[in-house]
């Protein structure tokens, strides 16, 4: 039992470090809230959007990388998926706000 625990603790540390491989949604920053996307909102709204994005989408499929689709496609994708993911309108709006803010970050990050 101790061996199993050790293996899993080790795996958790390694996997926790695999953010780049993980389609890891970037954490919300003050810059994101100031990004000026059409529906960008408060830090709280963006945090809520990030939690919903990472929580609801993976009920059916793996999380897509935010840069995988152009920014203009994301509102339609979220709207299309929203019904089967049981998302309320305010939740869809929070996800779109977060994804667009994060998408803007992927375009302006150093080295991009």
């Amino acid at each position: 039992m101790k061996k199993i625990f050790t293996v899993f603790a080790g795996a958790a540390v390694i996997l926790g470090g695999c953010q780049a491989l993980n389609n890891y949604p970037p954490p919300v920053t003050p810059n994101m809230a100031r990004a000026g996307t059409h529906s960008a909102g408060s830090m709280e709204k963006l945090e809520h959007g990030r939690t919903l994005f990472a929580g609801r989408c993976i009920e059916c499929h793996v999380l897509p990388a935010i840069a995988q689709y152009p920014a203009e496609k994301w509102p339609r994708i979220v709207d299309w998926m929203g019904e089967r993911a049981s998302l309320k309108p305010a939740e869809r709006e929070a996800i779109v706000a977060y994804v667009l803010a994060a998408h803007a970050g992927t375009q302006t990050s150093p080295g991009k």
Partner: protein, 230 residues
């Protein structure tokens, strides 16, 4: 509204259903024991409901079995059950997704209690899941016969497209008749799975063969789950 897709059939995943979602899940498992010339088909019909963001409840409203042996065959209604899953952490945002599972099952001269710890990690297109399960069964007259089982299962699923995944499942069982390990019963099953989803439904199927050589235990188990959201 859809509750979510199962990428495995013998392994549970950490995310719980969206709050307010309702899903009907039906599954069958075909088990074949060659040396006893026995085929068993187990059917389950289950309603799953997302209670909160982190908590889901399911009712197995009918578990029934068709069994065919060399001498006889027949169908019997077995039990109903309540399944509860609570999620603590997310398999993408946190180092490991963690949920706990509790099930209570009751039937004619049968009571079963099952607890699980569910771990999951999503890495890119991969979903890795691990379950540690303890199962206790009381059955027979006055529920005097007891059996325990300690089960560990591990699976990996790779998403080829957002609608289609393939993977592998492994199940290791330690069977404890009368909570006693004298008979040293160990079973290990391994095999592939496929999963397809579209709109408000999904179908997932696994075919596991026994890699050990335990007499009286299934040589293979084929399980298919069909889920549809309302």
């Amino acid at each position: 509204m859809f509750g979510g897709v199962r990428h495995f059939t013998f392994i549970y995943e950490a995310p719980t259903s969206a709050p307010g979602s309702v899903e009907l899940e039906n599954w069958f498992t075909w088990r074949r024991v060659d040396n006893e010339d026995t085929d068993t088909l187990v059917f389950r019909h289950e309603i799953e409901y997302g209670v909160t963001d982190r908590f889901q409840a399911s009712l197995y409203f009918a578990d029934w079995v068709y069994e065919s042996t060399a001498d006889d065959s027949g169908t019997v209604f077995e039990d109903v059950a309540l399944e509860l899953i609570y999620n603590f952490t997310n398999p993408v945002l946190d180092p490991v997704g963690l949920s706990v599972y509790q099930e209570y099952k009751g039937g004619y001269r049968l009571f079963e209690w099952e607890s699980k710890v569910i771990l999951q990690k999503n890495i890119g297109r991969w979903i890795l899941a691990y379950n540690a399960t303890v199962e206790a069964v009381w059955e027979g007259e006055d529920l005097a016969e007891t059996e325990g089982e300690i089960i560990q299962s591990l699976g990996a699923s790779y998403e080829i497209t957002p609608r289609f995944s393939v993977g592998l499942e492994m199940v290791h069982e330690i069977v404890l008749p009368e909570w006693n390990d004298d008979e040293d019963i160990r079973n290990f099953f391994v095999g592939p799975n496929v999963s397809y989803r579209r709109g408000h439904w999904f179908v997932t199927s696994s075919f596991l063969t026994q890699a050990t050589d335990t007499s009286g235990e299934p040589d293979f188990q084929w399980r298919t789950i069909f889920g549809i959201g309302f």
